[in-house]
């Protein structure tokens, strides 16, 4: 099994799906000749040609609406938003049309498209290049919002997203694009959308997170175990919406203590939904208030202040200790 990074893993998913199915097309700004500003679509145009790897004009609503039309005709477009911070232009097409055409037409039409976008901080980027606004998409009925956390699950989830009959928002943690390598099998691998995973078992406290925040969460969990003998159970949501609450409410019933971690601003963030489900389904088992370690309710600052903004291992450790000491 070759060890590859997340950029290569996503590229692998795209090229293998394009190989298998000629209805899969890739489109976006600079995705063709340039291979994307993060090189995620590198080389695809040489293999599949400019009809299938489409350099589009610079217009995000256009890209999304154009993809919807293609999907209505039976293609499976995978469109790229160069940065999630520019995807707001596309939101209206996704909300008003992609998300509801199946429902509006009683199942006659469907929009099997994927909208990929790099999200999150940690790469010393310009303004509008670091935010984490998955909650916007997650709030829209009819969409699925998927966020991988490693090369292997990114590859498997993207394959599933492309094959999914409904529109999928695929947020890629750009801080993890080249952060580490992982064994990714060359053979086909998928992961179910709408299912979370226990990535580390434990009995003392439950840590719930996804995407870029999984790294500091796992770091904190190792530290807790190595230094304090505290065994944290770590849950990776993988799909933010529709949210799978079975695993994490079950885990909360076991540990009685929960910390939720994400980069997105706290108020109305995915963590709020997680806490609500915990209250609805595990209330009587909770031994301490659920803590949220998240971005603050401000625009993510430019990178000189980014470290203080982003939830890092220390902040997570502190929240865990407070939860345990409650």
């Amino acid at each position: 099994m070759p060890k590859i990074n997340m950029v290569q893993a996503i590229n692998l998913a795209l090229s293998q799906e394009m190989e298998k199915d000629d209805s899969v097309v890739v489109l976006g700004e600079d995705v063709g000749v340039d291979g994307g500003v993060f090189r995620v679509t590198d080389g695809l145009i040489d293999r599949f040609g400019p009809e299938r790897v489409i350099d589009t004009p610079l217009a995000e609503s256009g890209i999304a609406g154009f993809s919807i039309g293609m999907a209505l005709y039976g293609l499976k477009p995978v469109c790229e938003m160069q940065f999630s911070g520019f995807s707001y232009f596309a939101m209206h097409q996704m909300e008003s049309h992609a998300a509801r055409l199946r429902w509006r037409s009683g199942g006659r039409f469907s929009v099997p498209m994927v909208l990929r976008a790099p999200y999150g901080g940690g790469v010393r980027a310009l303004e509008h290049h670091s935010e984490s606004r998955e909650a916007y998409w997650a709030h829209t009925p009819g969409l699925k919002t998927v966020i991988p956390s490693s090369p292997r699950n990114a590859r498997a989830l993207l394959v599933s997203a492309i094959r999914d009959p409904d529109p999928v928002i695929f947020y890629e943690p750009k801080a993890l694009y080249r952060a580490f390598r992982e064994d990714v099998p060359d053979e086909e691998e998928t992961l179910p959308i709408g299912k979370s995973q226990i990535v580390r078992e434990g009995k003392d406290v439950t840590l719930i997170s996804y995407g870029a925040s999984m790294r500091p969460v796992l770091e904190a969990a190792s530290e807790l175990s190595a230094r304090h003998g505290i065994e944290a159970e770590v849950i990776d949501l993988l799909t933010v919406s529709p949210m799978d609450d079975e695993l994490f409410t079950g885990s909360a019933r076991k540990t009685g203590r929960v910390v939720v971690v994400h980069e997105a601003p706290r108020s109305f963030g995915p963590g709020a939904e997680i806490v609500a489900r915990l209250v609805e389904k595990s209330f009587l088992f909770l031994e301490a208030p659920v803590r949220r370690v998240t971005g603050f309710d401000i625009v993510i600052p430019l990178y000189q202040r980014e470290t203080e903004y982003l939830p890092g291992p220390e902040r997570i450790l502190k929240a865990v200790r407070e939860t345990l000491d409650f």
């Binding site: 256009g62 609406g65 154009f66 039309g69 293609l75 055409l101 039409f109 529709p242």
Partner: protein, 362 residues
């Protein structure tokens, strides 16, 4: 030379074939077969009668807010150019075209009566459901066109939108994408002179809407939108060009919204009776009827019979609709088709409502 003229061919034509008195410009006659002429006339009449009937139903409280199309019936000339494999992408002012393409009147009543069923377009009819977010559907017709081309299908996507829609970004993005990728897309702008209360002159400073095509380097033409022959001829040219790989066209149908924007609107607040009266003289049905009578394709008795027939068709559709809604609908199916497969969290919500409803019944 630091400063010189760039050679651009800028040409926007206006085409009208039947004048207000029903007189034909022979040189421009699109030579439509007689039976098709009569079918077009009937479709326009049906749309008019159905529209009138819906206004009554709305006033009686049997249906909710609806958008009348009175005065814009000649659009069927464009829909008539399409083949079944082509796609119609309508806004909310295309009832006549939708019916032409096989959508049922019941289906329209479902929509305006507040039933989701109105959007359930049957298999085999390539109409998208109506699009309410103004201008947004233009992009779908470009994506459809790209996919047709990609699949090597010789089909065309025709998208309708209003004069107001030409101010939306999506319209411009769609025009641009269509031109860049040379998609088989026909942009059909119904310039009915009003976007609710805002007149055409406030919507755009351009002399014509058709000229917006020039910026994207695609053909643009203005048609007399109350002349079904001009609409047919102009649309045919554009559809043929698209089908044979010649790319997109922007067509501006110059027409008039003779009724209110929707039944929730009072046009007296913003436009004069006199303006409406002027346009009534250009009524697309009256003009076409004069022409057909002149050619002896229609007689007094023929018109009367057709009108009777069309009214019956409307009544029968209404009856079928009443019968269908009389059976009631299941509120629980609002959860269906949100996703191909219902997620567990949504299933739980459906069960929640199911319990609530069964408790109420008890």
């Amino acid at each position: 030379m630091p400063r010189k003229a760039i050679n651009l061919t800028c040409k926007v034509e206006y085409l009208s074939i039947l004048d207000e008195t029903g007189k034909l410009d022979k040189k421009l006659d699109p030579s439509i077969p007689d039976d098709l002429l009569l079918r077009l006339y009937r479709a326009m009449l049906l749309a008019r009668r159905f529209d009138e009937r819906m206004l009554v139903l709305q006033r009686q409280g049997k249906i909710g807010t609806f958008a009348p199309i009175k005065g814009q019936e000649a659009q069927v000339g464009a829909a008539a150019v399409l083949e079944p494999g082509d796609w119609l992408v309508p806004s909310f002012r295309e009832m006549p075209s939708e019916l032409w393409r096989g959508k049922s009147m019941e289906s329209v009543l479902f929509t305006y009566g507040g039933y989701n069923e109105g959007g359930y377009i049957p298999e085999g009819i390539n109409n998208l459901p109506v699009s309410i977010p103004v201008g947004s559907q233009t992009l779908h017709a470009v994506g459809l066109g790209y996919a047709m081309k990609y699949r090597g299908d010789k089909s065309v996507a025709m998208v309708f939108f209003g004069d107001g829609a030409t101010s939306e970004g999506d319209f411009h993005e769609a025009m641009n994408f269509a031109a860049v990728f040379r998609t088989p897309t026909v942009f059909m702008c119904q310039n009915n002179h009003w976007a609710i209360s805002v007149p055409r002159s406030r919507q755009s400073h351009s002399k014509t809407l058709a000229q917006k095509a020039l910026a994207y380097d695609m053909p643009g033409i203005q048609l007399d939108g109350n002349d079904v022959l001009a609409v047919y001829a102009g649309a045919k040219e554009a559809v043929d060009r698209a089908r044979s790989g010649g790319g997109p066209t922007l067509i501006e149908l110059v027409t008039y919204r003779m009724s209110m924007h929707t039944t929730a609107d009072d046009p007296k607040k913003y436009r004069s009776e006199k303006e409406v009266e002027e346009w009534e003289k250009r009524d697309p049905i009256v003009r076409f009827e004069k022409y057909l009578r002149g050619r002896n394709l229609l007689t007094d008795a023929g018109v009367e019979e057709m009108d009777e027939d069309v009214r019956n068709e409307v009544r029968e559709a209404e009856e079928r609709w009443l019968e269908q809604i009389g059976k009631g609908v299941d509120p629980l199916d609002m959860f269906d088709h949100a996703y191909a497969e219902m997620p567990p969290s949504l299933r739980a919500q459906k069960e929640e409502l199911e319990r609530e409803l069964s408790e109420k019944k008890r």
